[in-house]
């Protein structure tokens, strides 16, 4: 029982990060139907920015806030310069731009800051070894609890933004029908720009939380997390915010349970693949994900 709970708690903290990055992916995907392959690396670079601000003397929370701001602006510049020119030409070209961004961003910290090894990252949340509550024989660490709470809070704020603000309304309109949205006077270009900026901000929170949990920043830290987040976004349905959160948490828990309980059968080699196989099974039953909108094609 204690072990089951332990895997559940650990899985939820893993899943929180998946969920947050999946949210970022969904925000970019909804208006334009693009999967931003560089979302994870943007989050990694954001974590490095926060580390750098900290190095310059900023306390951790302002450093993270500054990194979130830098990410938003940076992502909007990238959208303007590299994504917009190809958006309506070819979806494959957009994918290649994102892949190129992935490669370039992955190399950025070692070039910019000459970092050759992981660097220390300060803890955002209390993380002394004995900062935990004991529940049913398992321990739930404060930092894991707070990461989960932050994720849920951000998801709630996003839901508010999309339902209650003009920008959110415009984003929903473009997501639902780009042509009609343009006809009623919505500046679709601005919506795309805002989506990239917003997604990068959410991603930056994910990246800095990962760094805080690890205690260090490293250029390889988001690679496997990005794949899991992409899987979660698809599982949730690619255009559903709550789908991304539910699927992210679910994936974290399933992965951890599988690796914990079936080491002989599943093992670490197949751990990330287990999650993907579960998703494959779900998609075969529901081709648009758990909460996705079914496609309606006009012939």
């Amino acid at each position: 029982m204690g072990r089951l709970l332990q895997y559940l708690f650990d899985g939820l903290s893993l899943g929180s990060v998946y969920a947050l990055l999946a949210l970022a992916l969904v925000i970019v995907h909804r208006p334009a139907g693009q999967l931003n392959f560089a979302q994870g690396e943007m989050a990694m670079v954001a974590a490095f920015c926060a580390w750098w601000f900290g190095d310059l003397g900023l306390p951790v929370v302002p450093a993270v806030a500054a990194a979130v701001a830098v990410s938003c602006v940076g992502a909007m510049v990238v959208e303007r310069v590299a994504v917009r020119p190809v958006r309506d030409r070819s979806p494959l070209a957009v994918a290649v731009v994102a892949i190129a961004l992935f490669l370039g961003l992955n190399s950025l910290p070692s070039f910019t800051w000459k970092v050759t090894a992981p660097e220390r990252f300060p803890a955002i949340f209390p993380n002394a070894p004995d900062d935990f509550v004991r529940i049913g024989g398992a321990t739930w660490r404060y930092e894991h609890l707070l990461v989960l709470a932050t994720t849920l809070l951000i998801a709630a704020l996003l839901a508010l933004l999309f339902r209650r603000t003009r920008l959110g309304l415009a984003m929903r309109a473009v997501a639902s029908n780009r042509g009609s949205a343009a006809l009623v006077g919505i500046d679709t270009g601005r919506v795309f720009l805002a989506s990239w900026g917003l997604a990068a901000g959410v991603g930056a929170v994910a990246g800095t939380m990962v760094a805080s949990l690890r205690g260090n920043v490293d250029t390889a830290m988001m690679l496997s997390i990005f794949l899991a987040a992409a899987a979660a976004a698809v599982l949730g349905g690619l255009d559903s915010l709550h789908g991304a959160v539910v699927a992210g948490l679910l994936l974290g828990v399933v992965e951890n349970m599988a690796a914990g309980y079936l080491p002989g059968v599943v093992g670490q080699e197949l751990r990330s693949a287990t999650g993907l196989l579960v998703i494959l099974a779900v998609l075969l039953v529901r081709p648009s994900g758990l909460f996705g909108t079914p496609r309606v094609e006009r012939v």
């Binding site: 909804r30 979806p91 494959l92 070692s110 899987a231 197949l270 693949a273 079914p294």
Partner: protein
């Protein structure tokens, strides 16, 4: 206005095509007449392997509109088939190509069947799972695959009838020749498939599966078979890769998702849904990659720049990323698409008997695919 007008099938048109073919043949075969080193043959072989994998992927993305980010798995399966048969079972490498092709065709069909229900990014993600699974399975079944250590000693010495010896130079020539032949074969398979009735069915499925089905196309059959053929070609490319490397291991990036991404990039920069795109893309990709990796050693850089670059790793990757973005922004439909647009300003080929005024319009046959032609129901957001 275009300055030259050629009528399809006329003598002048034929002459242009013969000259073009001669130029390409010269480019491919002239290395044998020149004094080249093994490394010169080596990179040409690498390009051919990359091109064959891109031809395979293009068949799927370009002509049925199914995005795969998992072709590294078929590539790897082909490579391991050859490696294990040659190194452990002592097979003559030539016989492993058909085995790899059949094995990959079968796995392609197996993957293609569940893929029928999925489109766009949903399908792409499932193929990512495939890419993730392959190296994991290689490590898991280490009895067969050698696990993390990989398989060693996969080599193909030139057979005696070629008149080549087993030295490094002649071995590299033999592999280059082999790669050219297999690339040519693979390209012909793709070309004939695309130009056939099935090819038209593929394009119909890509542009609108429902409409194609209504028109009597067996959508499931077309998609599954294309997946199989594409996987088989990728597998043969993998076989060649194993022979060129002489060693395969799950650490090789070509067998991971990064390999699949490279194939995708090659198809995109060459020109998706064109027959020459993958070939052009492979050459350009490979040369940019080589050039950028040599950058840090360029001695002509001015002193302040060189000092600035001191201690900064990964310069090559950054330059590569910037070049790739610039290339895609300049030619979103790929280099072949760009070439066509530029070429049309100077030369126009018209079918016989068509009046010049209408002939100037671009041929609509092979447009780049619209991958996400999705109409979302209003009210579905949030």
């Amino acid at each position: 206005m275009p300055s030259v007008r050629l009528v399809r099938g006329s003598g002048a048109h034929l002459a242009v095509r013969v000259i073009a073919a001669a130029v390409i043949a010269w480019l491919l075969l002239s290395p044998f007449l020149r004094d080249l080193t093994p490394s010169d043959y080596g990179w040409r072989t690498d390009v051919a392997v990359l091109a064959l994998a891109a031809v395979a992927l293009n068949l799927l993305i370009g002509f049925t509109g199914q995005i795969s980010i998992g072709h590294s798995a078929f590539f790897g399966l082909g490579a391991y088939t050859t490696a294990v048969l040659v190194s452990d079972q002592g097979w003559t490498p030539g016989w492993t190509f058909p085995v790899a092709a059949v094995l990959c065709f079968a796995s392609g069909v197996v993957v293609g069947i569940p893929a029928l229900r999925l489109t766009g990014m949903y399908l792409a993600l499932v193929t990512v799972a495939l890419a993730q699974l392959f190296p994991a399975l290689v490590r898991r079944f280490d009895g067969l695959t050698g696990g993390s250590a990989g398989v060693d000693g996969v080599r193909y010495d030139p057979p005696p009838w070629t008149g080549l010896d087993d030295g490094r130079l002649d071995r590299s020539r033999w592999l280059y020749l082999l790669a050219l032949v297999l690339l040519g074969l693979g390209w012909l398979v793709a070309r004939n498939l695309v130009k056939s009735r099935t090819g038209r069915a593929m394009v119909a499925v890509r542009d609108n599966a429902t409409a194609a089905a209504v028109a009597g196309v067996n959508v499931a059959f077309v998609k599954t078979v294309t997946f199989g053929v594409s996987a088989a070609l990728a597998g043969v490319a993998g076989s060649l890769f194993a022979l060129r490397q002489s060693h395969v291991s799950p650490d090789a990036l070509a067998f991971t998702i990064l390999g699949a991404v490279v194939f995708l990039v090659v198809v995109a920069i060459g020109g998706v849904a064109t027959l020459t795109g993958p070939l052009v893309g492979a050459v350009v990709y490979h040369r940019i990659d080589e050039y950028t990796r040599e950058l840090p050693r360029k001695t002509y850089l001015p002193e302040p720049v060189a000092t600035f670059l001191d201690g900064r790793a990964n310069l090559a990757s950054l330059v590569f990323a910037v070049l790739l973005i610039a290339l895609v922004v300049a030619a979103p439909d790929g280099l072949v698409g760009l070439g066509r647009r530029v070429g049309r300003r100077f030369v126009v080929v018209t079918p016989p008997g068509v009046p010049p005024a209408t002939a100037a319009a671009p041929a609509p046959s092979l447009q780049p695919p619209v991958i996400e032609s999705v109409t979302v129901e209003p009210g579905g957001a949030t």
